[in-house]
């Protein structure tokens, strides 16, 4: 053990050396690289910490992001408007035709809904759980090819559930991952971490839709004898303890190669202005949470409402 005088001198020498060393250019560089490596390891070891931090930062940034997204959207709309002027008359004719078809489908849907209701009562089938929907605006997207996510400007304050499915009128977009006070992180179905249990509409073969950061996710784990045709529709199967209700439209098969079946999502993920976050009640929630949710007045939809699309 050193005598107190020498200990003091050593202490002084240490504190006069290391802070200066660390504040020097090389020291700061080494410290920054060391911190970066520690953060990378922490991201692997404690992903919840990363999600939480990200949510807090996006909460704080949501005002700036909304302000930045608004003029950009206006410019984009203006360009689309100008470039679309020449196609207006042909678009109008196509829309009239589509409208006539949709009217027929509407009548057919009403008829099927009534039939479904009477059949359900006939076999005493339990009613499907009620779903809650919150419509919200996309304020930011992940800039880069390393992840496919968007940030929407609705969170706990707007009663968004952490187990919500994000949809547009066309089909599934993804699911919520983190919900903070004023914003939510939606993982798109094209993200490499996205896995959705799906079923092929006609053959009823079940599989998993796996994102790979490309615009057309992969259909995996189909039975060996499954024959898949280009143009077949893919819907959610509602399997396991997932949050997806069965029968939600996902996409259409666009390419079939051995071990590489690609799906084009119905929803246009490049043009996401608004999305609907729907909680299908697929996860058990406590009574108190249910009461709190209903008290806050989230819009309530019947399960058959706008989630299904016309072929």
């Amino acid at each position: 053990m050193l005598p107190p005088r020498h200990r003091q001198a050593a202490f002084k020498a240490f504190w006069s050396y290391w802070p200066r060393r660390l504040l020097s250019e090389r020291g700061a560089l080494a410290l920054a690289l060391f911190c970066a490596v520690i953060l990378m390891i922490l991201s692997l070891a404690a992903p919840q910490f990363v999600h939480k931090t990200r949510s807090v930062v996006f909460d704080r940034l949501s005002i700036i992001l909304t302000a930045m997204a608004s003029p950009a959207k206006k410019i984009s709309l203006l360009i689309e408007h100008v470039t679309g002027l020449s196609d207006m008359s042909s678009d109008l004719a196509a829309m009239r035709e589509e409208n006539a078809k949709l009217r027929q489908w509407y009548d057919r849907a009403r008829q099927l809904e009534a039939e479904n209701r009477s059949l359900r009562s006939l076999v005493h089938l339990a009613d499907l759980p009620q779903s809650r929907a919150v419509t919200t605006r996309v304020i930011a997207e992940s800039g880069g090819n390393f992840a496919q996510s968007v940030i929407v400007d609705a969170g706990v304050d707007e009663n968004v559930s952490p187990s919500s499915v994000a949809m547009t009128g066309d089909g599934i977009v993804g699911r919520t991952m983190d919900v903070s006070d004023t914003s939510s992180h939606v993982l798109l179905l094209t993200d490499v971490n996205s896995r959705i249990p799906v079923v092929i509409e006609n053959s009823r073969h079940r599989g998993i839709l796996a994102g790979d950061n490309s615009s057309q996710p992969l259909l995996m784990y189909l039975p060996d004898d499954a024959s898949v045709m280009v143009g077949e529709r893919v819907l959610t199967s509602g399997d396991a303890a997932g949050i997806y209700a069965p029968g939600l439209p996902v996409g259409v098969v666009v390419s079939v190669q051995p071990r590489n079946i690609r799906i084009q999502p119905f929803a246009d993920l490049r043009r996401l202005d608004f999305v609907q976050l729907i909680d299908f009640g697929r996860k058990d929630t406590t009574e108190s949470e249910k009461a709190a949710n209903s008290a806050a007045g989230a819009e309530t939809l019947s399960p058959a409402e706008p989630v299904e699309t016309m072929p």
Partner: protein
């Protein structure tokens, strides 16, 4: 010192210290604006790199290692990648630029543009390798090069914007009478 002079001094300090950092932070946030571009056409980390490279070469004092690291952290947050990834890469990019600064400062715009292309390619490759460590096969290297090329093509525009900002900062940098 009069109140006017002290106010000018405060504004000057603010401009010198914060405007370069804010401009790069803005470049980070610009990549999050929802666009109708297909995936892989925006590489989040490449856009702030233009700002970091510009300020490191023209005003190295405004881009210390700690600031570059924090800007990297902000980029990690908004691009949904593991924390520390961009911090690591940006700090290395800054180190490279500081070492080559004497050579690069004497060169014309075309040489600088080519130098940025090399730097961006290196940064993207490193980002790709580090991301692959976390999620092997998650990203297509070739597809991302489209995004790098788009950012590279936009360098003159971003540099024009940053140089206007630099002119403004230089006004503040003149000694107060």
């Amino acid at each position: 010192m009069t109140a006017e002079a002290s106010m000018l001094g405060f504004l000057r300090g603010l401009a010198l210290d914060f405007l370069p950092v804010l401009s790069v932070a803005l470049l980070v946030l610009v990549t999050t604006i929802p666009t109708s571009l297909p995936p892989m056409t925006t590489i989040g980390g490449i856009w702030p790199l233009i700002g970091i490279a510009y300020w490191t070469l023209s005003r190295p004092g405004s881009m210390p290692v700690t600031v570059v690291f924090l800007l990297g952290l902000l980029t990690d947050i908004v691009t949904f990648v593991p924390f520390g990834l961009h911090g690591f890469v940006f700090v290395l990019a800054r180190m490279t630029l500081i070492r080559q600064r004497r050579f690069l400062m004497g060169q014309g715009f075309w040489v600088l543009w080519v130098a940025y292309a090399l730097l961006a390619a290196g940064v993207y490759t490193l980002l790709f390798l580090l991301t692959s460590l976390f999620q092997p096969g998650a990203v297509s290297y070739a597809a991302g090069l489209v995004g790098v090329s788009i950012a590279w093509a936009c360098v003159p525009l971003v540099i024009w914007f940053l140089s206007r900002l630099h002119d403004m900062i230089n006004l503040f940098d003149e000694p107060i009478a």
